[in-house]
């Protein structure tokens, strides 16, 4: 067995020397034969910016007088000149100058790597989004948003409920959290797996490995049994995928920090056609109560490098992929006493990918005058975050039963974010 190799058509999987063939792989190979070998699937990638990212300094409403008044030290100056769409020779990565998008909004200078995606029409912004819930607690708001509710913490997450029921050919890697634990967004009834440090997927002792595998396969432990069964299946796949995994974007992924490494691993999985349908990654460190300027720039540099590297790495596979970013809430419009911002309300979401009708700022801008602010201090929410997610779940994942994904939510008018 240890010299036996199994090749799955159209996939980068080569298995060697670690016990039995993953059962999913065998099933999928049969299925692929039946389907004429097409292994490409649509993928929805959710990226959570934990800590309440400051939407107003990420996509800057530079034409708002109040923005500049309320943020005397934190404000990002209006772009000095309009940047022509084709002028890619200019790179703001080392300056903080905002990048004009449409004469009203501008990207933070550290988001320069995303500008080409905007120009290609693969990046859309949805402004003034969020949850109607007014909790300014990180942990509650994250739980609610990941549950897909406004003020109720469900045990499972919206992206898990958006997945169709498993069939014979459903991969154990259909739903992947990039990180050490399954994120709330992906928790639930459907099989899901967390992949953090890929180095761990290599047990030195092959005999012990096969005994442990059979131990977990027969285990009645309601928690560890399932985790273990998935883990061994995935170990075999990971071993083959990561053996030969160079990509020209590896340098840029590195600049993307933890999110870069997560998306790098995700790209390998998608390119290997292992059946990924939904993925979750996160980037933390957005809770900038003090000295926000340099910290936000650094976060955004990582964020944009990671996304840019992923998009280039995936190449035309981006036609199958939609990425959605979110954060639990926004931050106060007025800066606080510490050159930072406190917990606020409305924020923004970014939608990236081949199917996206990008190059446009969606959503209704509520304004920043005192009477336009939520509770007199925060950006109002004019687009419920579930309107954005729901549209992607319906149009991209093909899940028409939105009530099971976002219980009790009545969707507003479609935004028209995707080419259909």
């Amino acid at each position: 067995m240890s010299t036996r190799r199994i090749f799955l058509r159209d996939s980068a999987i080569v298995l060697a020397g670690i016990g039995a063939v993953p059962s999913w792989l065998a099933r999928a190979a049969t299925l692929a034969d039946q389907n004429g070998g097409d292994q490409r699937r649509k993928v929805l990638v959710a990226i959570f910016m934990r800590g309440a990212a400051d939407g107003l300094n990420i996509v800057v409403p530079f034409s708002e007088r109040r923005y500049h008044e309320l943020r005397p030290t934190l404000r990002i100056a209006a772009p000095t000149r309009k940047v022509a769409a084709s002028d890619s020779g200019r790179d703001n990565r080392f300056s903080n100058e905002a990048i004009d998008l449409d004469g009203t909004f501008a990207l933070h200078g550290a988001l320069q790597p995303l500008k080409p995606l905007w120009d290609k029409g693969q990046l859309a912004i949805v402004e003034a989004t969020g949850s109607p819930d007014s909790s300014r607690s990180h942990f509650d708001a994250q739980d609610f948003m990941e549950s897909g509710t406004t003020s109720k913490n469900l045990g499972d997450g919206w992206l898990n409920r958006a997945l169709p029921p498993a069939t014979d050919g459903t991969s154990p890697l259909r739903a992947v959290t990039l990180g050490n634990q399954v994120a709330h967004t992906l928790r639930g009834e459907r099989e899901v797996i967390a992949i953090g440090n890929a180095q761990q997927f290599n047990l030195g002792n092959s005999e012990a490995t096969s005994i442990l595998e059979s131990m977990y396969n027969s285990s009645n432990d309601p928690l560890w049994g399932r985790t273990g069964r998935n883990a061994f299946e995935v170990m075999k796949i990971m071993d083959s995928i990561n053996r030969d995994s160079y990509s020209p974007q590896d340098g840029e992924y590195n600049q993307g920090g933890q999110l870069g490494r997560s998306l790098q691993q995700l790209a390998r999985l998608i390119k290997a056609n292992v059946g990924v349908e939904a993925a979750f990654a996160e980037i933390d460190g957005w809770d900038h109560h003090g000295n926000e300027g340099p910290q936000l720039s650094e976060r955004l540099r990582q964020f944009s490098s990671a996304l840019s590297a992923f998009s280039q790495d995936m190449g035309d596979r981006m036609e199958d992929i939609v990425i959605i970013t979110m954060s639990e809430f926004g931050r106060t419009v007025e800066e606080n006493g510490d050159a930072g911002t406190d917990h606020g309300h409305g924020s923004l979401m970014m939608v990236l990918g081949g199917p996206v009708k990008g190059g446009k700022v969606y959503g209704k801008w509520p304004g920043l005058e005192k009477e336009q602010l939520f509770e007199g201090r925060d950006l109002a929410v004019t687009t419920d975050y579930r309107d954005v997610l729901g549209e992607l779940v319906r149009e991209h994942m093909g899940q028409k039963d939105l009530d099971s994904v976002f219980p009790g939510f009545k969707a507003g008018d479609p935004l028209g974010l995707l080419r259909v």
């Binding site: 050490n180 005994i211 059979s214 985790t227």
Partner: protein, 683 residues
């Protein structure tokens, strides 16, 4: 399916309700048989059993043992632990001593020896530099053409990489050459200041550091010049350096003294968890630190990495003395410790609006009409108003809980009360009340009027209100029950604990006594209901195998690899307290890898004692390590694996790259399987 889950949930609630009137189908009302009680208390009040622990508890009696654990002052500390902590001398230093001897302020942490790179702005006019950076290709080329060759070389050398991509071919070549030369010069200079291993060792010696045995490495150190030894030890990867704690420590003292303080603190935590006879105390220090979490790697603007040092004194001075005391004292100690003041930004929070330095002030250099220059150290800078961070988290996470009944107005009022609770200055991080930062106005906190002009008293009053609030009694009781009883603890138990909390003015020992003597704690519902966190898994495994841990440096990095690095949770909610967080493929694989490394003696500083397991059958080994029989499925998988020859090629595998021998199915092999089993992941 979710409806089904809901039905189950509702029916189990119903069952709970029924049990109060005598029904015994609720697992929390089924009394744990005597035989299981010993391992249960060792898994909950301690970090799992060591060889011999069960006998000791049996001799003493479970109730007496619990009583003693609740009164650690009556338990003589293990002399072996004291000997192991002795060399970690930063554990005993005051904050002031640590600051004086181990702190590198931010400006010294940059590399002063490194020649600063020339910037375009130093070489060209502002306008030209801007054009080169951000202008069109034509503008850029025109400027480059106009320069003298020498100047041009310098400009080309200073071009950022993104610009480099967009200049004509000939210039690009020249620029690349110039940058290469520049880089070489710079890195040569850097290397002279910071020698690397290959600057200190010849190729053969390098090979020893990479793949030599511990003995070869020791011989190498003996051969080297004494002044080279710590330099080399400080440069080895953690798993290689772990066998030479003294040298590594000297090396770190030279290169990065703050690291020594962090390492001492990390190692001490692991050593105490393994060796302390006062096990409950160590469990509680872990629990309460996590409840009042701070992060050692938070960088404080203009102050630097002071959290590297303060995290250790925070645990020692603010957490540890109060874990058997009154909650209010614990809350106050954390509120006033500089680690918390820095971590949740309160040190920087000032009265809003009342200053002449608010965001809308014409001149930010005065505070209430006083020139800012008289303000001490860090305050003579941009701070000029309220920061809500601590005000919110002290209620949400430390006391009331998120549903504890506070509003955004309360958050602001609490933050205003705490204005002026700050630190003396960056070099002297000790609590002071700075009246000039305090908001002197009237506030209303959770319905309590706090009159104007209160000063430092305002914050103390808030501590008092929060510590005595009924939501706090309930929230803290539930958190404790979640750690010690079950992820979703029985509400009736939480209620009784909360009543005791209120009656005893938050006496934590009394609250725990109610919990540990409750039928719910000593029930089938609680038994093995908890999943071990990465820290608990590592420590309990080391305790189970017995033997000797001479230093815990390598164990600390193993805990990080499992996903929860010690003292390094960025967010203030701390690491999760419930099992679902740790169920992941990576995490489980990591646990199995760790199990193998530990069982085969591959973790530096840890010598497992497997001799006592020699020639024992798997069932006996399982009872020894787990404290009870392994599950039938686990036993069956091991029995089957041992009887079949398995893959014959694998049986004769040489030692793998990780050094774990295959083929010999002795105690280490069986230990690997048991520590990696689902059974061992629960407590």
């Amino acid at each position: 399916m979710r409806r089904l889950l809901l039905t189950i949930l509702i029916s189990s609630l119903f069952v709970c309700g029924v049990t109060l009137s005598g029904n015994t189908s609720d697992p929390f009302s089924q009394r744990l048989p005597e035989g299981k009680q010993i391992i249960h208390v060792l898994n909950r009040l301690a970090f799992g059993p060591r060889p011999g622990d069960e006998d000791a508890v049996r001799r003493m009696g479970v109730a007496k043992w619990i009583h003693l654990q609740l009164h650690p002052e009556e338990i003589p500390e293990n002399p072996a632990l004291e000997a192991k902590l002795k060399p970690l001398d930063t554990l005993r230093l005051s904050t002031a001593d640590l600051m004086d001897n181990y702190f590198a302020p931010p400006q010294n942490m940059m590399m002063p020896m490194q020649r600063p790179q020339e910037r375009l702005e130093d070489l060209l006019s502002q306008e030209d530099a801007q054009k080169v950076r951000l202008g069109t290709a034509e503008e850029r080329e025109e400027i480059l053409k106009s320069l003298e060759p020498e100047k041009r070389r310098k400009v080309l050398a200073a071009l950022p990489p993104n610009v480099l991509k967009y200049i004509p071919e000939e210039y690009r070549k020249e620029a690349e050459a110039a940058q290469r030369a520049e880089n070489e010069e710079r890195s040569a200079e850097f290397r002279r200041q910071n020698p690397q291993l290959r600057d200190l060792l010849n190729p053969d010696q390098m090979e020893v550091t990479r793949s030599g045995t511990k003995e070869q490495l020791a011989a190498l150190f003996a051969y080297l010049d004494p002044e080279k030894r710590p330099l080399v030890a400080g440069l080895l990867p953690p798993d290689r350096a772990a066998d030479f704690p003294e040298l590594r420590r000297q090396g770190e003292l030279k290169r990065n003294p703050q690291q020594v303080v962090m390492d001492d603190h990390h190692e001490a935590k692991v050593l105490r968890a393994i060796y302390s006879s006062r096990q409950l105390q160590e469990v509680l220090v872990d629990f309460w630190f996590n409840h009042f979490n701070v992060d050692e790697s938070k960088n404080i603007p203009r102050v630097g990495n002071v959290m590297h040092l303060l995290t250790a004194t925070y645990e020692r001075d603010a957490i540890r003395p109060h874990v058997f005391g009154h909650f209010k004292d614990l809350l106050l100690a954390t509120a006033q410790h500089p680690a918390m003041l820095y971590y949740l930004d309160n040190w920087d929070s000032m009265a809003p609006g009342s200053f002449n330095v608010g965001p809308f002030a014409p001149d930010r250099r005065t505070v209430n009409g006083v020139p800012n220059s008289i303000l001490p150290g860090p305050l003579a800078r941009i701070a000029h108003g309220l920061n809500e961070n601590y005000g919110r988290e002290v209620m949400e996470l430390h006391t009331l809980g998120v549903k504890g009944g506070y509003t955004q107005d309360d958050v602001i009022a609490v933050a205003r009360c705490f204005t002026g609770w700050t630190v003396r200055d960056p070099q002297h991080p000790e609590f002071v009340f700075a009246s000039f930062m305090h908001d002197t106005g009237e506030k209303t906190v959770l319905g309590h009027k706090i009159p104007a002009g209160g000063g430092e008293q305002d914050g103390l009053q808030v501590i008092d209100i929060l510590a005595h609030h009924p939501s706090t009694a309930r929230f803290i009781s539930r958190e404790l029950a979640q750690r010690f009883v079950a992820d979703d603890p029985p509400p009736a138990l939480v209620d009784r604990m909360a009543q005791t909390f209120t009656k005893t003015d938050g006496d934590l020992r009394a609250v725990m006594e109610v919990m540990f003597t409750s039928p719910e704690f000593m029930s089938e519902g609680a038994y093995e209901a908890k999943v071990k966190s990465p820290f608990e898994m590592v420590v309990s495994a080391v305790r189970a195998v017995g033997g000797e841990t001479t230093n815990a440096y390598a164990l600390v990095s193993k805990i990080s690899e499992l996903g929860e690095p010690l003292y390094d949770k960025l967010e203030p909610n701390g690491y999760p307290n419930t099992g679902d967080a740790w169920l992941s493929a990576t995490g489980l694989m990591g646990r199995m890898n760790f199990s193998a490394a530990l069982a085969y003696g591959m973790i530096p500083g840890v010598l497992p004692d497997s001799s006592r397991l020699d020639r024992k059958d798997p069932a006996t080994i399982a009872r020894d390590l787990l404290g009870h029989d392994a599950s039938p499925e686990t036993q069956a998988a091991i029995a089957k694996g041992l009887e079949s020859p398995g893959e014959s090629e694998a049986a004769s595998d040489p030692v793998s790259p990780d050094g774990i021998a295959s083929g010999h199915k002795g105690p280490a092999f069986i230990t690997t399987l048991l520590l990696g089993s689902p059974d061992f992941q629960r407590r």
